[in-house]
Amino acid sequence: MTRSQFATAVMAPEKWVENAARLLNRKFRYTREESVWLGLVRELNLEVGLPLSRAAEVADEALGSVREEGDVVVGQSEGSSAAIVIDMSRFRSSHGAALSAALTLGGARRRGRRRVQARRKTAALDKASRYGVDLDLLREGLKLTVAERMQRADENAQFVRAMRTRK
C-alpha cells in the first residue's frame, strides 16, 4: 500500500499516521497487518481516549487474543473492576470496508502543481486529440440519447464481468 492508501485503511489522515509512527517509535511498511493494528490503536485513542502508547498496548493485547471475533476484554485494571470491551467483529467489519476503499479507490492526490486547465474550446479539443481521444467517436456518441448511452454502457459492463469470471 502507499502511505495515503494506508491512511485510508487506518481511517486516519496521513499526518496522524506520521505523528503516530513518530510517537510510537515505529517504522511502518504500510502492510495490511499494520493497518489493522494501527486502525485499532486509532479507535482506542480517538473513541476511548487512551493515550497513544497505552492504546498500542491494548491493541497488541486485543489482536493477540485467542478470540478474533466477538467481544474481547482487554486493559483490565489491577482490581479487575474496570476493563475495555472491544467488539472485534465490528472492528474487523469497519477495517475491511476501509481497506477495500483504500485498495480500490487509492489515496489522496499527490502534492505538486496542478495541470493547467484548457480555457478555450479549441484548446480543449486540440489537447484531447493530441492525447489520443477520438473526437469523431465522441461526436458519434453524443448523437445517442442518454438512455441509449447508458444501455450500451450496461451491456459493455456485463461483457467485462463475463470475461472476468470466465475461467
Binding site: L125, D134, V146, A153
Partner: protein, 158 residues
Amino acid sequence: MSFATILSGLRENDVKFVVVGGLAGTAHGSRRVTDDVDICYETSSANTERLAATLSKWNAYPRGIEPDLPFFMDARQFRATPIMTLTTREGFIDVLDVVKGVGGYTDCHRRSTEVEAFDLRFRVLDLPALIDAKRATGRPKDIDQLPELEALLALRPA
C-alpha cells in the same frame, strides 16, 4: 446483475442519491467502459438506513478483500466507514458521503442533472462538477480521463 437493477433497486427503496463517477461520465458521452455504479448518498439516518437495508439485501461485501471476514451492512457501518467500495449480487457499487472537489450530497445534488435511462429518472453529476471531481481526486486513472471530459464539455452546445 446490471446498472439497471442497481439503480432501480435504489429508487424502489427510496434511497436519495446522485450518480457520480464513470457512469455519470457515460451519461455525458464518455466512451470509457466502467463496471461499477458510484453514488453519493444523502447522509440522514433515515436515508442511510434505507441504503444499508438495500445493500444488505444484495449481500454487499467490501470489494478486493478476502471473503468470510466479519462484515455488517447496517447504518452503524456507514458511521464508521462512510465511503465503501462494495461487491453485491447486483454488481459493483461504490457509496460515498462526499465527492472530492464537489462536496456532500447537497452539493452533488445542486451540481447534478436529471436523466432518464433504464425506464427510470435519476440524477447524475453534471459535466463541470464531474471534471472538478476527477481533477480533485488526482488518481492517474482520473487524470487520464480529463482530456476526454473536457473535450465533451467543449463539444456541448452552448
